[in-house]
C-alpha cells in the first residue's frame, strides 16, 4: 500500500489548486451561479485544457485512462474549490457509461469531444414517480416516453444519456437535448449546482443511439454509478476539509470574552470531532475507490452512506461554530456547508 501521490498526480493537484485560487474565486463562482445558464463555459474550457475532463476517459478515445487512485486527488480538489460545472455528470457518469458499454462508433463519436470540453453530458437516471421511461423500437429507431427527475446538470448537457428499464435489464440512449419532444425543466439546486426534470414525449432517436447496441447495460451502469459514488465521496472530503479549515480560521480569530473562541474547550473538542469525521471520510473515499474498481457495490454504498452522514455532521457543526455568521449567505463557509449537507442526496441517486 502506498498513499503518496505520483508526480503526475501531484502536478495535476497543484494546477487545480492554482486554477481555483486564480481563476475560480468565490466571487467568480457566485457570478456563474447567478448567470441564466449557471455554467462557466470558460472555466470548463480551462478544465479541459488542463486535461482534467479527459482524465477518467479511455486513452484510445482522447482520455488518460485514469483510475480511482487518479480521480481521488482531483475530486478532492474540485470539492475544495466548490466547482459547480458538470464534471461528475459529464466525465464520470455520462462518459463513464459510454466508455464501459458503448459501441466502438459511439465511443469514437462522443468521447473525444467530451475530452476536449466540447460536449457536455448528463446521465438521466431516476424515473419520476409513475412516469418510468418507456421504450418502443421499430428497427429503424427508438421512441422514448416518460419523465426523469432531478437529473444532475440535465439542463447544461448537450447530450442526455437516458437510462430505461428494459426487459429485466437496462438500456441507455444518447439523446440530443434539443431533440423534439424533450423538455428540460432546468433549476438551481440549493447546494449551488443545477438539476433538471426531463420530460420525454414521443422522442424519436436513431437506431444507433442505443448505447452498446442491444446488449444489457446493467453491469456497466452499476460500475459507472459506483465510480461516480466513489468520486463524489472524494469530492465530499474536499468540501469537508475546506469547511474545517474555514471553521478553524474563524474560531482562532473570533474574539469573545477577551479571547479567541477557539480557546474554549467545548469548541476545541467539537473541532476535533469535525477533523476526525473528515479523516475517517477520507479513508472511506479511498476505500470506495478501491472497492468500486473491484466491483463491490455494497461496500461503495456503505462508504457513501458514511461520507454523506459525516458531511452533514461537519456542516452542522461548522455553521454552529460560526455562530450568527454561520447562517448568513455571505461567507464561503455557508456555501461549503450547504454542499456538504446536500451531497448525500446526490450520493443516494448513485449508490
Amino acid at each position: 500500500m502506498n498513499f503518496s501521490l505520483t508526480e503526475e498526480q501531484q502536478l495535476l493537484a497543484d494546477s487545480l489548486a492554482r486554477f481555483f485560487e486564480r481563476d475560480y474565486t468565490f466571487e467568480k463562482r457566485r457570478a456563474i451561479q447567478k448567470s441564466p445558464e449557471g455554467f462557466g463555459r470558460d472555466a470548463w474550457a480551462q478544465l479541459a485544457e488542463m486535461g482534467i475532463v479527459a482524465l477518467p476517459l479511455p486513452a484510445d478515445h482522447g482520455g488518460f485512462g485514469g483510475g480511482a487512485a487518479d480521480m481521488l486527488p482531483v475530486m478532492k480538489a474540485l470539492g475544495a474549490g466548490l466547482l459547480t460545472e458538470p464534471y461528475l455528470a459529464t466525465a464520470i457518469l455520462g462518459a463513464g457509461l459510454i466508455a464501459r458499454a458503448g459501441t466502438a462508433e459511439q465511443k469514437a463519436s462522443v468521447l473525444p469531444g467530451v475530452a476536449e470540453g466540447k460536449r457536455v453530458l448528463a446521465l438521466a437516471l431516476r424515473d419520476a414517480e409513475g412516469a418510468a421511461v418507456k421504450v418502443a423500437g421499430d428497427g429503424k429507431g427508438w421512441t422514448l416516453d416518460g419523465k426523469k427527475r432531478v437529473v444532475l446538470h440535465g439542463g447544461q448537457a448537450d447530450t442526455l444519456v437516458v437510462v430505461a428499464a428494459v426487459g429485466g435489464g437496462h438500456a441507455a440512449f444518447l439523446v440530443d437535448r434539443k431533440t423534439p419532444g424533450v423538455t428540460v425543466r432546468d433549476y438551481r439546486t440549493i447546494d449551488g449546482l443545477r438539476g433538471a426534470d426531463v420530460t420525454l414525449a414521443g422522442v424519436k432517436v436513431a437506431a444507433d443511439s442505443r448505447v452498446g447496441g442491444d446488449a444489457d447495460v446493467t453491469k456497466a451502469l452499476r460500475a459507472t454509478l459506483d465510480a461516480g459514488a466513489a468520486a463524489l465521496c472524494a469530492e465530499a472530503v474536499g468540501v469537508m476539509e475546506q469547511l474545517n479549515t474555514l471553521t478553524l480560521d474563524y474560531i482562532k480569530t473570533r474574539q469573545q470574552f477577551g479571547q479567541p473562541i477557539g480557546r474554549f474547550q467545548v469548541l476545541q473538542h467539537r473541532a476535533v470531532d469535525m477533523f476526525i469525521s473528515a479523516e475517517q471520510s477520507k479513508s472511506m473515499a479511498y476505500l470506495a475507490g478501491m472497492r468500486a474498481e473491484a466491483g463491490d457495490s455494497a461496500a461503495v454504498a456503505g462508504a457513501a452512506r458514511y461520507v454523506a452522514r459525516e458531511g452533514r455532521k461537519v456542516a452542522k457543526e461548522a455553521i454552529q461554530l460560526h455562530g450568527g455568521m454561520g447562517v448568513t449567505n455571505e461567507l464561503p463557509a455557508a456555501h461549503y456547508a450547504k454542499r456538504a449537507t446536500m451531497i448525500g442526496f446526490w450520493l443516494d441517486q448513485l449508490a
Partner: protein, 396 residues
C-alpha cells in the same frame, strides 16, 4: 400532585381552538402549514385579529390592559394557536420590551408604548447584538452620549430580526466607558424612522431577508426614552431574559410540524413503499416524538413552578426545544429524497409554489432546514445555555 389539566384549563383550551379555527385567515394558515414566506401584512393581520379580541396581550397583567392569564393559560394559548398554524407572534414588543417597560419604565412610557403594543400599532425590534458582541454581549460598543435632553447614538447593531419592518427598536447602548463593562450599559427606546438610522439586509443561508444590520449615525433620542436609570441596562436585559422563555420550547409548533411530517411520510415512496413504513425512518420520527412528549411535560413542570422566578432550569427548554425543531426540519428534508435539492426563493409563496418541481410540499424543505440552523444560535446559543446551567444550576 395532579398530573391533569383542570376543567377550567380544558375549557380555555377549547375556546382558543375554536376562536383560532374560526378567525385565523386561511391564506396565512396555509403559508404557515406549507412553510411559505410570511409577509409583514400576514403577521400584522393576525395580530390585529388577536388585539381586537384582547388576546394579543392576554398574558399581560390586568393593570396594563392584559387579561392576566395564568402560566398554564399562556402556555395553552401559545401552543394551541401554533398547533393550528397561526404565525408566531412577533415577540419583541409583546414579550420582550413590554415586561421591561412594565417593571422599570416611566408612567409616560407605560401609557404611550404599552398601549400602542397592545393595539398592535408599533412593530418593535431588538438592538442587542453587535458585530463584535455576540455571546459576549456585555462587550457592546454602540455609544449613547447625553446632549441636553437627548442622547446621541452612534454605532451598529446586527442580527436584528425583522428590523426592516420595525417602527421602534429597544437597544442596549453604552453610556459610560469608565466603569465595569456591565455597569456602563443603558436601555434605550428608539424610533426606527429617526434620521441617522440605516437598515441593511443580511441574507441567510436560504437566501431570505429576515435579519438586518442597523447603523446609527448621530441619531438623536429624547432622554424620556431612557428606560429606568442610566447604567442599569444590563440588569434590565437580564430581567427580560427570564421573561423571554415561556414559548421558547415551541412545543405547539413542533407538534404541528411532526403531524405534517407523518402525513408526508405516508405520501412519499421509498423502495416502493410509503416512507412511513421504513423502520429506520419511522424510528427517527418516534425518537423525536418521545423527546417532544418529554419536553411538553418539562414545560408543564416549569410552568407549575412559576410562582417562583423562572429559574435557569428553563435553559433546558431552549436547548431541547431547538434541538427538536432542528430534528424535525431534518426529517422533513430527508423525507423529500432528491426533491430536497431543487431550490428557488421564488417558489416560497403560495403562487410560486406551483412552479416548483416535485411534490407541492417539497420545495421549502431544504431551505427551511438551513434557516433553522439559527435556532440553536440565536437567543443565547445552546452552548451559552449549557454554560448557564453548568454555573447556575449545577454549581460548576
Amino acid at each position: 400532585m395532579d398530573l391533569n389539566y383542570t376543567a377550567d384549563e380544558l375549557a380555555f383550551r377549547d375556546e382558543v381552538r375554536k376562536f383560532t379555527a374560526a378567525n385565523l385567515p386561511k391564506d396565512i394558515q396555509r403559508k404557515v402549514l406549507e412553510h411559505r414566506r410570511l409577509e409583514k401584512d400576514d403577521m400584522v393581520r393576525w395580530q390585529d385579529i388577536l388585539a381586537r379580541k384582547g388576546w394579543l396581550t392576554g398574558h399581560w397583567p390586568k393593570q396594563f390592559g392584559g387579561l392576566g392569564w395564568s402560566p398554564v393559560e399562556i402556555h395553552v394559548f401559545d401552543e394551541e394557536t401554533a398547533a393550528l398554524g397561526a404565525p408566531r407572534l412577533v415577540p419583541f414588543g409583546l414579550n420582550m420590551v413590554a415586561p421591561v417597560i412594565m417593571a422599570f419604565g416611566s408612567k409616560w412610557q407605560q401609557d404611550h408604548y404599552l398601549t400602542r403594543i397592545r393595539e398592535n400599532k408599533d412593530w418593535w425590534c431588538q438592538g442587542y447584538s453587535e458585530p463584535g458582541s455576540g455571546s459576549d454581549l456585555a462587550s457592546l460598543k454602540t455609544r449613547a452620549v447625553r446632549d441636553g435632553d437627548h442622547y446621541v447614538v452612534n454605532g451598529q447593531k446586527t442580527w436584528t430580526t425583522l428590523g426592516q419592518h420595525a417602527d421602534m427598536i429597544f437597544c442596549l447602548v453604552r453610556t459610560n466607558t469608565e466603569v465595569r463593562k456591565q455597569e456602563g450599559i443603558s436601555f434605550l427606546l428608539m424610533d426606527m424612522h429617526a434620521p441617522g438610522i440605516t437598515v441593511r439586509p443580511i441574507f441567510t443561508l436560504d437566501e431570505e431577508h429576515e435579519v438586518n444590520e442597523v447603523f446609527f449615525d448621530n441619531v438623536r433620542v429624547p432622554a424620556q426614552n431612557l428606560v429606568g436609570e442610566e447604567g442599569k441596562g444590563w440588569t434590565y436585559a437580564k430581567y427580560l431574559l427570564g421573561h423571554e422563555r415561556t414559548g421558547i420550547a415551541g412545543v405547539g409548533a413542533s407538534k404541528r410540524e411532526l403531524a405534517t411530517l407523518k402525513e408526508i411520510a405516508k405520501k412519499q415512496q421509498r423502495n416502493g413503499k410509503p416512507l412511513s413504513e421504513d423502520p429506520l425512518f419511522a424510528s427517527r420520527i418516534a425518537d423525536v416524538e418521545l423527546e417532544l412528549m418529554a419536553l411538553e411535560m418539562t414545560v408543564m413542570r416549569v410552568l407549575a413552578n412559576r410562582g417562583k422566578a423562572p429559574g435557569p432550569e428553563a435553559s433546558i427548554l431552549k436547548i431541547k426545544g431547538t434541538e427538536i425543531q432542528q430534528a424535525i426540519t431534518e426529517l422533513l428534508m430527508d423525507a423529500m429524497g432528491d426533491y430536497a435539492l431543487p431550490f428557488d426563493p421564488e417558489w416560497n409563496t403560495l403562487e410560486g409554489a406551483d412552479h416548483a418541481p416535485g411534490p407541492e410540499y417539497a420545495a421549502p424543505m431544504a431551505a427551511r432546514y438551513f434557516n433553522y440552523r439559527k435556532v440553536t444560535i440565536y437567543g443565547g446559543s445552546n452552548e451559552i445555555q449549557r454554560n448557564i446551567i453548568a454555573q447556575m444550576v449545577l454549581g460548576l
